[in-house]
């Protein structure tokens, strides 16, 4: 079977799953409606975690629990088969175009050439997208399995899995798309699913607020993405990746090393889109709020897959970024600042999921550092390892919250180590991995990023320093989380303490698999420095690097690399430094939280900074004041008044004026025009008075006058 020609089927399995869930799921899940149809006034189940006594659920739900992850598993298997077939191709790239999705009309490009505005419904499988689809379907499947247990007590089970499957469909469309427009369709689609899933508990205002915020903030980035797309279209005349890369390879566009030109603007606009989806400065604010969604959603969408879409998009546009060093520097700088800013906020947060959310923002910053430095494969490598350990940490935190009857505040946890041992052990592995302890996944990718930022031609010492400090902060906040949650004294209330229990197998099994991944996944991307390892330990680099090889820029980078690689002593030293810093961070966390404490030691440690840190540097407040209250609501209110009184005032005013004129005309008509006539009539009336005396119309009068006249006449004749 030729799976390569059937890659368009990969997204369709989860779509079919979503369709079944959303169309007939209600019938499969009779309990589903109960959540929705709660009588008002009766407080509905506030989120997750009320009364977990036993884990039995309706047998029809088993069908959903079987069907929905099954669809994703099918996609995973299909993806595996396709990727295996791809690896045997000479040219590792396969494009399948189903039909023309948008068939626009001709337009003129910037050079005046005539091009046609079209977008295919087409897919491209190459090493880059193959990594993405395996991560999405593989990790996605595990999270689906986990969710079957985690959501067992929630209403709207079918709705949840419908949305989750729909998300996988859009995400696969995003990474498999062969052009920017279809990528954008997937991009918006995952945004929609994110909206639906953040707002899954839609009866909670905080949830629907967070959902709105996520969608609208993302839309700001999308606006940039759209403009970037139009600029690219104007510069290259196409949106299809393969065609665009051909155009670029032919040297039609020159590298903008001297100044900031149209191409730099285009890549910057695309990156603006990435800052929205991948939660970077200045648009990261939606991601922490997105934790209102159920925890599997946080793991799948807001840690492992969707938020990495921006990184993927930048990597996909590598040929463009290679030509625009200034934008690349901006990408790297944004990544660095975001990484350290988010890590600093994570230091003091008390909500277990918020710590992880800010950690995700920070880790995404690392990926952009690598991408900005030109080391795209390293960015994707970190994306891949991060997917394992961050999904694990989120799911682990979900298991903790599950055990804690919904409690998310780490100040009321503690000593869970022996109560939920599997969760503890797996999360332990994840925390070691993210901290960067050698041998675990996070170490390989993070260390490679730091090395690239240090050594690559596009790198920078300052950014390297920021990356190093962030690594220390990361180790610290992750172990602060671990110590607060699992070690020390229990700080929860009695009732909660009594109910603590390990999660069911459906939840712990994915944890174990992901923990294994967090430990082992990095070994396919071992550093070149470890020359004692055979080359197969660097398979990831070999698989991906050809995608990003393009023209002279790459050659230069390779050359620089080669030069740097001579100094292995320095590289060993830097590696040692980052490992030392990671261990230092962990030990410092232990020294603060390993002992008995009542007031969070971080408060005295950070001193006056604690409050701004806890309040996330007031970024939300500032944005809210400026954009929501100021621009949107203020502007809307102002224009509303303007519309009613000025614009419509003009219309009603002209109506009023017309009536005024008409009234005046009536007056004029009555008193002047008609008046003149009536006056003349009156005059005639008066003037005719004597005449009228004669003209009475009475025959007798006429006869009398006649007789009188005759008498007078005769009399006159008589006397004359």
């Amino acid at each position: 079977m030729n799976f390569l020609d059937l890659i368009w089927l990969i997204p369709l399995f989860p779509l079919a799953g979503a369709a079944v869930m959303l169309l007939i799921g209600r019938r499969l899940d009779p309990q589903g409606a109960s959540h929705v149809a709660l009588a008002p006034g009766l407080a509905p189940d506030e989120g997750h975690g009320q009364g977990h006594h036993g884990h039995a659920f309706a047998s029809t739900r088993r069908l959903i629990a079987f069907f929905s992850p099954g669809a994703v598993l099918l996609s995973f298997l299909f993806s595996m088969a396709a990727v295996i077939q791809l690896s045997s191709l000479e040219k590792r790239s396969h494009e399948v175009i189903l039909y023309t999705w948008i068939s626009g009309l001709p337009f003129h490009t910037a050079t005046g050439a005539l091009a046609t505005f079209t977008a295919d419904w087409g897919f491209l499988l190459d090493p880059l997208s193959s990594v993405m689809i395996l991560v999405i379907t593989g990790i996605g499947f595990l999270i689906h399995v986990y969710a079957t247990g985690y959501m067992a007590h929630d209403g709207g089970y079918y709705r949840f899995f419908g949305y989750l499957n729909l998300f996988v469909f859009f995400m696969l469309t995003l990474v498999l798309a062969n052009n920017y427009a279809l990528l954008f369709a997937g991009w918006e689609g995952v945004g929609l699913c994110s909206y639906l899933l953040i707002g899954f508990y839609f009866h909670k205002k905080s949830a629907s607020d967070a959902a709105n915020k996520a969608f609208i903030v993302n839309r700001v980035g999308d606006a940039g993405f759209l403009i970037g797309m139009f600029l690219l279209l104007s510069l290259t005349g196409t949106l299809r990746f393969t065609q665009m890369n051909e155009t670029l390879a032919s040297g039609a566009l020159t590298a903008e090393t001297a100044g900031f030109g149209a191409l730099s603007l285009a890549t910057l606009c695309l990156f603006a889109g990435a800052t929205g989806k991948s939660a970077q400065l200045p648009l990261y604010v939606w991601l922490p709020d997105a934790m209102e969604g159920p925890t599997p959603v946080s793991a799948l969408i807001h840690a492992a897959t969707m938020v990495t879409a921006g990184v993927y998009m930048v990597a996909r546009s590598h040929a463009l970024y290679a030509l625009t060093p200034e934008t690349s520097a901006i990408v790297m700088g944004t990544g660095a600042v975001t990484a350290i800013l988010a890590a600093s906020i994570a230091l003091v947060q008390n909500d277990i999921k918020r710590v992880l959310a800010y950690s995700t923002v920070s880790q995404l910053g690392y990926m952009f550092m690598a991408a900005g430095a030109g080391a795209y494969w390293v960015a994707v490598f970190h994306l891949y390892t991060h997917a394992f350990f961050k999904a694990l940490l989120f799911l682990g935190s979900g298991s903790v919250i599950h055990a804690m009857s919904g409690e998310q505040d780490m100040r009321r946890m503690g000593a869970l180590k022996d109560r939920i041992p599997t969760t503890f052990r797996t999360m332990f592995a994840g925390s070691v991995a993210i901290a960067g302890i050698p041998g675990l996944a996070g170490f390989f990718s993070k260390d490679e990023i730091l090395w690239q930022v240090f050594s690559a031609p596009g790198g920078s010492m300052a950014v390297y320093a920021v990356g190093l400090i962030t690594a220390a902060l990361t180790a610290f906040y992750m172990w602060r989380l671990m110590f607060m949650t699992f070690y020390g004294e229990p700080r929860m209330d009695e009732a909660t303490a009594r109910r603590i229990h390990e999660s069911p197998v459906s939840m712990t099994l994915p944890l174990i698999v992901l923990a294994a991944g967090s430990v082992l996944a990095g070994w396919i991307g071992a550093p070149k420095l470890w020359s004692f390892l055979p080359d197969s330990f660097r398979a990831f680099e070999h698989w991906l690097l050809p995608v990003f090889t393009h023209g002279t820029a790459q050659a230069a980078s390779e050359a620089g690399h080669a030069a740097a690689h001579h100094d292995t002593g320095l590289e060993w030293a830097l590696m040692g430094l980052s490992v030392a810093i990671a261990i230092g961070g962990i030990l410092f966390a232990r020294s603060l939280y390993g002992k008995r404490w009542t007031v969070d030691p971080i408060e005295s440690l950070t001193g006056p900074l604690h409050k701004p840190l806890l309040n996330k540097w007031y970024v939300d407040e500032i944005y809210n004041y400026l954009f929501v209250e100021g621009l949107a609501k203020g502007g809307g209110r102002l224009l509303g008044v303007f519309d009613r009184h000025i614009v419509d005032g003009g219309v009603n005013g002209s109506g009023w004026l017309t009536r005024l004129v008409s009234r005046a005309s009536i007056w004029w008509d009555t008193w002047i025009i008609d008046g003149a006539i009536r006056v003349s009539a009156l005059l005639a009336h008066i003037a005719s008075f004597p005449m009228r005396l004669a003209q009475t119309g009475q025959v007798q009068t006429y006869a009398t006058v006649f007789l009188l006249g005759v008498a007078l006449f005769l009399g006159w004749r008589w006397f004359a």
Partner: protein
Amino acid sequence: MNPLSLALWTPLACLVVLLAIPASQKTAIKVWANAAALLGAAAMLPLLAGFDKSNGGFQFVERAPWAPSLGVQYYIGVDGISLLLMALTAVTAVVATLSSWNAIEDRVKQYYAMLLLLQVGMLGVFASLDFILFYVFWELVLVPMYFLIGVWGGPRKLYAAIKFFLYTLTGSVLMLLGILTLFFQHWTQFGTPTFEIDALLRLAMPFWMQQWVFWALFIGFAIKVPMFPFHTWLPDAHTEAPTAGSVILAAVLLKMGTYGFLRFSLPLLPEASIDRTIVQVLVGLSITGILYGALVCLMQKDWKRLVAYSSVSHLGFCTLGIFSLNPNGIAGSVIQQLNHGISTGMLFLVVGVMYERRHTREISEYGGLAHRMPLFATVFAFAVLSSAGLPLLNGFVGEFTILQGAFEANRFSAALAVVGVILGAAYLLWLYQRTTLGQITNMKNNLLPDLSLRELVVFAPFIVWAFSIGLYSKPYFEMIERPVARIVERVRPGYFQDRSQAPALAELAPPAAPATRREAGGSR
């Protein structure tokens, strides 16, 4: 009989039959009215089936003298643009008629008679190729709409109806002046009186006269669209009209304005249409409309008024596309005119569904509707997403194409218009949140029934259509490709030539082509 004439007069024939039914037979009247709407839609099928996409000219042409001494003819025909709008009219009529089943219980016979008369007028506007015939249909539309608002409308119906009537009439009178100028020009230049569009195309008019005629027609069309600042009749008319009236108003009536620009202003007055000042004013007004309408939406307390203002914003995109004066801008505009009919039509139906249940349009009266009305919440979500331009639904295709066209014409104005896309999502999602999500706070919302089967059927055509355009827009583009190219070729001769061939020439002397681009574009 010519299939176009058949499609045009079917509703009138149905109206005659309707008049024969006694007014007391309400059910019979309703059944017949719905059958008539379906017949009207069925009459579109021969047109769609027989339509030749490769022909850029008018098809199904029929001609008969009407007032020969003045050159007035019964002269009809369609191209892809008008046929799409006629199809939209027919589908909207079906939806609007069915949606009125329970909403209208008073003067039922007159109501459905008005709907049918309205349909004749709207179809006639899109089918006319004679300017006077067009004008007659254009004015004919006013009358039934006036009565629909004035008789079956909301509390301020009289104010709204009179405002609607007078405002649009003012515009039409100015438009008539423009038409007459063209007529007399033709008489002077060729010695024959005619109102035929193809004949008027031959006119050679001095630029100043083109400009005057342009502005005269502009007033007529801009009020109908409505473009900022001529839009204030719209919120009142929409808010007070019965649901079916609002749906038809939004879906079809507004398109008469944009259609007017495409059919008359651009081809008949090409030099004025491409004049730098005129383009700048029109693009400026379009962008103002997009942003202004969206911002005003954010602060509306009245559900229906919000949807009405969203129309101002969306129609801003349509006019922006037209005055990008390039193929993608215009094609996108036509697609978006269709899309706006679908998505805003749905949004008005949504309001209608709730108004029928609660008799209030205040957003604050609602909240948590998804608990009791999950089907309604789903349908409403589709309407919102379609209107917000989410890919795979219809709105995206239109907006995307318009923005591409606008971007080609002027990058800066396109960038401003994109802001409208952000605001669009904001006001729609916020509306959705306040009405549908959250807890049920008002006990009156607690016992509401979900959508009935009839209501679902009302929404179905629009939802299906939204997906079909969103997933596979090619047939629509193919239909309008040639007519759009004709308009562009008329306004900007030589547009469809590759200009990269002669770069050396371009450097020697600033040639016509780039100058034209600058003219159309304004500042970069």
